[in-house]
Amino acid sequence: MSDKAYMVPNPPTPNKAVEFNPDFCIGCNRCVDVCPTDVMMPNPEKKKQPIVVYPEECWYCGGCVEECPRPGAIKMLHPTQQRISVNWKRKDTGELFRLGMKNPPPPNTRPPSGE
C-alpha cells in the first residue's frame, strides 16, 4: 500500500455502486460483459476483480450479481443517500433498523418465491 497522495478528482457520487470481495472474485469479467452501462472495466491484472469506473451510470438492476458464478464475490451497493432512506420498524418491539446500520438484525433467509 502506497502512502503517497495523488492529484485525483473527487471520488464520484455514488462512490461504488458495486463492491467486490477479492477472496471470492476470480476475475472472470462476466459482470463486466453483461453490465448494460459499462459501469466496470476489466482489471489490467488478469484474474483480478474488475474496476468500477463509472458508478454514477449504474441503475442498480443487479444483473452483475445474478451473472456472477461465485456467490459473495460481487455485491450491489445502493448509494448512501438511498441506504439511509431504507428504514423499517419491528412491529412487536418498536426497534428501528436501516439498510447499512452498524449492528444489523440477523438475515431473513427465506428465498424469493419460485426458488
Binding site: V34, W59, H78, K89
Partner: protein
C-alpha cells in the same frame, strides 16, 4: 479493491483503456432484418423475424443478455385478455384505454397488444419462464385459478393481468436468440438510419453505429429495420445521474436514440408536445425500496406512526370495508384496468381502488402522523408472500436491489413495518410513495406520450421501418406490451423483407456519418466532456420548454440548441470510446429536443390531456384542435398534417378493430 480511485491510490498508475481501440475501422453487417435495440421488444422482434426464415441482426447499446428497461425482469403482465380465465375481451380493453385517454392513445396498437399478449406470454413460458404457480405455493389464494394455476393482479374477478416470475426473462430471450443464430452486436451506439439515396423520407436500408468499447465503425445493411428502443429520453430535461440514476426506472442509455434516428430520417411522430411533471424523475428513492401501496405494492395496508390504518376507497369515493375489496371491482366498475400501462387519467369505471383520497388533508390536520409505514403483516400470508416474495422477488429491478438486499439486512415482511418516505404532505396524494414525484422541481418535465406513429402493421410512414416497443410507440405500454409489439413488428418486417429489393446504401451518407461520429475524438483535450453538454441541453429544455410555453420561448430554445451544436458541443472532446458513445447520445438528445420544441410550436392551443400549456393560446381544449398533428422532416423542413384521433378505424383502414387486425396480422 473495487474502485478506480482505489486502484490509482494503490498502484500510482492510471489504468489504460482495456479494449483495443480502432477508430475508423469499418465493419459491415448485412441482414434481411435489422433490429435496433436489443431489449425485450427488440429480442422478440428478432426471434419472430428469424422464425420466419430471414436473416436477422440486432444492434444493442449494452449487452443483450440483460439490457433494456425490461431487461431487469417483470412481475406482472398486462393485456393478457385472451387467457382462459379472463372476463375481458380485446374490444373491452382497447375501448377502456382509448376512452380513458379521451382518444389520445393509439388504439390500434392497444388492440394488437390485447389480441396477442397472452400468446406472447405462452411463448415466453415455452422458453422457460414461469408464468403459473406450478409449485402450488399459493394454492387456494383468491388470485389463483386452481385449474390453470395462473395468478392475477389488480382485479381478481376479471383476471386479465397475470402475475409472472419474470426475473430471468431476458436471459431466456437471449438464449432463444442465440439458438436461432441471430447476429447480436453489443455495445453499439447508432448514429443514423441509412435511407435510399441518403434522403429524408426514403426507404430505410440500414444504420450506422460506433462500438463504445473499440470505437470501430459499423455499417448495417438491411431490407427492413425495426426500431425497438424503449424508455423515454430521461436525460432530456434533467441530468444529474449522481443523484437520480439510483432512483430511475430506466437506465442512463435512455437518451431518445431511437426517436432521434427516426426523426432525422423523416419518420412521423405524434404527441411529442405532451409532457408531464412528477413522472418518476429519479429524485425519489430506489424503486420499491420504501413502503407504498401502488403497482407491485397494490393493496398493502398503510399505517401511521401510531399504527392507525389509512382507509381505502373505490374510485367512486366509497370506503372499502375489507382488504379483499381492494382487489375486486366495486359497483360502478366495468373492470379494473391496472396501473403502469402508459395511460394518464383513468375513467372512474376502470380505475384502481386506492388509498383514501382525503389522505393529504388528514395528514395536514394531524389525523395521521408521519412517517407512514407499509404493514404487510396485516395481509393474509398469501397476499404478503405474493407481493414481497413473488413480485418484489421476481422483478429484476427489485430481485437483487430490494429482495436480496433487504432480506440479507434482516427485513422480514411478517414482522416489520416498512417505512414510507417523509415528504411534503402533497406527496401522499399518489400511493407510489417511493417515486416521490413531489420532490421534482416544478420546471422539470418529461416526455409524456410522444412516440412514433405507425399503421396497423406497426410500420412508420417510411418504407422498411417498423416499431416494436413500449414507450416509443404511440399506443404502447409496459413490459408485456413491449414483448407483444416487438413480436408483431418483427413478423411484419420479415414479411416485407422477404419480397423487398436489396438494400443499397448511399456512400455519401455513410461517409458523412463516419466523419461526424469521430469529430469529438480529434478535438482539443481541453474541450468539454459529455456531461457538461448534457447538462446544458437539459437546462435549455427545462427553461424554454417547461410548463408554460409561447412561440418566442420555444423559438429561443431551438436557437440555443442550435447554438450549442456549433460552439461548446462542436469542440467537445471524447477521450475514449465510452465517452464518445455518451457524447453521441447528446446528439440524439438535441434531435429529440428539436422534435419536442417543433411539435410544441405546431400545436397552437393548450391541451389538458397533453398537459400542454401555451401562454399565447391560453384557451384550454378548443374543439378544433382535438386532433393529432403528425410531424416529420422533409429536406430538413418541418411537415405537419392533421389526423383524427380515431384514424385507426377510418379510411384507408376498415371500420372495426377485428377487420383491420384480420387484414394485417393474419394474412
Amino acid at each position: 479493491m473495487s474502485t478506480w480511485h482505489e486502484y490509482v491510490q494503490q498502484t500510482g498508475k492510471v489504468p489504460e483503456w482495456p479494449y483495443p481501440i480502432n477508430y475508423g475501422k469499418v465493419n459491415e453487417i448485412i441482414s434481411d432484418v435489422l433490429v435496433i435495440g436489443g431489449g425485450v421488444a427488440g429480442l422478440q422482434a428478432a426471434i419472430n423475424a428469424a422464425k420466419l426464415g430471414v436473416k436477422v441482426a440486432v444492434l444493442e447499446r449494452g449487452h443483450a443478455k440483460r439490457s433494456g428497461s425490461g431487461g431487469a425482469g417483470v412481475d406482472h403482465w398486462h393485456g393478457a385478455v385472451t387467457n382462459p380465465c379472463s372476463k375481458v375481451t380485446p374490444e373491452m380493453y382497447t375501448n377502456a384505454c382509448y376512452n380513458s385517454s379521451r382518444g389520445w392513445t393509439g388504439a390500434h396498437v392497444r388492440y394488437i397488444i390485447t389480441k396477442e399478449g397472452w400468446d406472447t406470454l405462452l411463448e415466453c413460458e415455452q422458453m422457460g419462464i414461469q408464468i403459473r404457480d406450478v409449485h402450488d405455493e399459493f394454492k387456494g389464494a383468491d388470485f389463483r385459478d386452481e385449474k390453470t394455476k395462473l395468478m392475477f393482479a389488480y382485479d381478481y374477478k376479471n383476471r386479465h393481468v397475470i402475475r409472472v416470475w419474470g426475473w430471468n426473462i431476458k436471459p431466456m430471450l437471449y438464449a432463444e436468440a442465440k439458438r436461432l443464430d441471430i447476429n447480436l452486436q453489443n455495445r453499439m451506439m447508432p448514429t443514423a438510419l441509412l435511407t435510399a439515396g441518403g434522403k429524408q423520407g426514403n426507404r430505410v436500408v440500414g444504420a450506422t453505429a460506433v462500438n463504445t468499447r473499440t470505437g470501430e465503425f459499423y455499417i448495417f445493411k438491411a431490407k427492413a429495420t425495426v426500431i425497438a428502443t424503449g424508455g423515454s429520453a430521461g436525460r432530456l430535461a434533467y441530468f444529474a445521474p449522481e443523484l437520480t440514476a439510483s432512483g430511475a426506472m430506466s437506465d442512463i442509455n435512455g437518451a431518445g436514440v431511437g426517436q432521434a434516428l427516426g426523426w432525422n430520417a423523416g419518420a412521423e411522430f405524434v404527441n411529442a408536445e405532451q409532457s408531464g411533471h412528477n413522472r418518476l424523475s429519479g429524485l425519489g428513492y430506489a424503486p420499491y425500496s420504501m413502503g407504498g401501496a401502488h403497482n407491485t405494492y397494490h393493496g398493502t395496508p398503510i399505517v401511521d406512526a401510531d399504527g392507525k390504518e389509512v382507509p381505502w376507497n373505490d374510485p367512486f369515493g366509497r370506503e372499502l370495508k375489507t382488504v379483499e375489496d381492494r382487489f375486486l371491482p366495486q359497483p360502478g366498475h366495468d373492470f379494473i384496468l391496472g396501473e403502469g400501462i402508459g395511460i394518464g387519467p383513468y375513467l372512474q369505471q376502470f380505475r384502481s381502488n386506492e388509498l383514501c383520497n382525503s389522505l393529504v388533508d388528514r395528514i395536514l390536520k394531524g389525523e395521521f402522523k408521519l412517517p407512514l409505514y407499509a404493514d404487510l403483516s396485516r395481509l393474509s400470508e398469501n397476499e404478503r408472500r405474493v407481493i414481497f416474495g413473488m413480485m418484489v422477488g421476481s422483478e429484476g429491478k427489485t430481485r437483487i436491489a430490494v429482495y436480496d438486499t433487504m432480506t440479507k439486512a434482516g427485513f422480514d415482511p411478517d414482522k416489520d413495518l416498512f417505512q414510507t418516505p417523509v415528504m411534503p404532505a402533497e406527496g401522499y396524494a399518489h400511493s407510489n410513495f417511493w417515486g416521490a414525484g413531489v420532490n421534482a422541481p416544478a420546471n422539470m418535465r418529461s416526455m409524456g406520450g410522444g412516440a412514433f406513429l405507425t399503421d396497423w402493421d406497426l410500420r412508420t410512414n417510411l418504407e422498411g421501418l417498423y416499431i416494436g416497443a413500449g414507450g416509443n410507440l404511440y399506443g404502447g405500454g409496459c413490459h408485456g406490451e413491449s414483448h407483444t409489439t416487438g413480436r408483431y413488428a418483427g413478423k411484419r418486417a420479415a414479411e416485407y423483407a422477404r419480397n423487398a429489393p436489396e438494400p443499397v446504401v448511399d456512400k455519401r451518407q455513410v461517409e458523412k456519418e463516419k466523419e461526424s461520429a469521430y469529430h469529438a475524438t480529434h478535438q482539443s483535450k481541453e474541450g468539454n466532456g459529455w456531461k457538461e453538454i448534457n447538462g446544458a441541453i437539459a437546462r435549455i429544455m427545462r427553461d424554454y420548454c417547461g410548463k408554460h410555453k409561447n412561440e418566442i420561448t420555444l423559438n429561443l430554445g431551438l436557437r440555443l440548441l442550435n447554438e450549442l451544436k456549433t460552439t461548446e458541443m462542436a469542440s467537445a472532446y471524447a477521450s475514449n470510446p465510452h465517452e464518445l458513445g455518451r457524447l453521441l447520445e447528446c446528439h440524439s438528445l438535441i434531435s429529440v429536443g428539436e422534435l419536442v420544441l417543433k411539435a410544441s410550436l405546431e400545436r397552437k392551443a393548450s391541451n389538458s390531456l397533453l398537459d400542454f400549456h401555451r401562454l399565447d393560446y391560453p384557451a384550454m381544449d378548443p374543439p378544433e384542435w382535438n386532433k393529432l398533428l403528425p410531424i416529420r422532416q422533409e429536406n430538413d423542413k418541418v411537415k405537419v398534417r392533421d389526423l383524427p384521433l380515431d384514424f385507426h378505424l377510418k379510411a384507408p383502414y376498415a371500420a372495426s378493430y377485428e377487420e383491420n387486425y384480420k387484414k394485417h396480422a393474419e394474412n
